[in-house]
């Protein structure tokens, strides 16, 4: 059987890769994808603990998280498109309108 430790380790590593991606990439699209990756790591934990405790709540919440991720992607991509129309770029360090 799958041990809980292995699941936690994999999800931890996925989350770390996601955080590193958010911090180091310039492309707003890739940053959005990294946020999705972190949500998936959390989902993996939800499911592992649901399996561990024998309750179905974790799986139900993982499904809810999936829905939230879809909503977040819709708004995020709309923002990226609007930004591209205004500033002609999706590189986050070219966007410095609020910088004094």
């Amino acid at each position: 059987m799958v041990s809980l430790n292995a699941v936690l380790l994999i999800s931890f590593l996925l989350f770390t890769i996601g955080i590193i991606g958010v911090l180091i990439r310039r492309n707003a699209l890739v940053i959005l994808m990294c946020v999705e990756l972190m949500l998936n790591a959390a989902n993996l934990n939800f499911i592992a603990f649901a399996r561990h405790s024998g309750s179905v709540s974790g799986q139900a919440f993982a499904l809810l998280v999936m829905g939230f991720a879809a909503a977040e992607v819709a708004v995020g991509l709309a923002l990226v498109v609007a930004l591209y129309r205004k500033r002609d770029t999706v590189q986050v360090d070219d966007i410095n309108l609020l910088k004094g």
């Binding site: 809980l4 590193i20 310039r26 999705e36 998936n40 024998g54 309750s55 809810l64 992607v73």
Partner: protein, 183 residues
């Protein structure tokens, strides 16, 4: 041969997990956005495989439908819309990359230090096995989808309804944000 296949079957989760890590690393490291999307797709499919090997069949299939079918296609469309810019990307990574990686790894190390016992300690003997007194409660649901639907519609109806409202708001917000200013 039989033994080999059996070993693979037992380690399905680890195989899918390592492949997901590879896809994620490819996504973060690759220069072109399309390659990043493909790495993302691969990682999501492997995470779906992980869900399946954790016996969450419904969620595995939902993962494939939502991510591979919906979100990745959305990302690809936006990449095609946006990435044809005239000026080329100056650099892939931020200026502060080195500091950022150092800080992230430091945070990860601190996390590992705190949760070392949980992650690497002796696996609890009853890991990931249904406890009998809990399994009795799940007897009504013979299949995973049934169990999940009971969880969603019986125990967590309010969060589910709130999620539907949030999806509606996100839909309207996306339309308002992305529409051209013609008024």
């Amino acid at each position: 041969m039989e033994h080999f296949i059996e070993t693979i079957g037992r380690n399905m989760f680890a195989i899918f997990g390592v492949m997901a890590l590879g896809g994620a690393a490819f996504m973060v490291g690759s220069r072109s956005a399309v390659h990043s999307v493909l790495g993302f797709l691969f990682a999501m499919l492997c995470v779906a495989g992980c869900f399946l090997s954790l016996e969450a069949e419904f969620l595995g299939m939902a993962q494939i439908l939502v991510y591979a079918g919906g979100i990745v296609v959305l990302f690809l469309f936006v990449v095609m819309l946006v990435e044809m810019s005239k000026k080329k990307e100056k650099a892939v990574f931020q200026l502060q990359s080195r500091h950022a990686i150092a800080v992230a790894l430091l945070g990860a190390a601190a996390f590992l230090g705190v949760f070392r016992k949980v992650l690497f300690g002796a696996a609890s003997p009853d890991a990931l096995v249904l406890r009998p007194e809990l399994a009795a409660g799940l007897d009504v649901a013979k299949q995973n989808a049934q169990a999940v639907s009971r969880g969603l519609y019986a125990d967590y109806l309010l969060p589910f309804e709130i999620l539907s409202v949030i999806l509606l708001v996100a839909l309207v917000g996306a339309v308002v944000l992305a529409k051209t200013e013609r008024v």
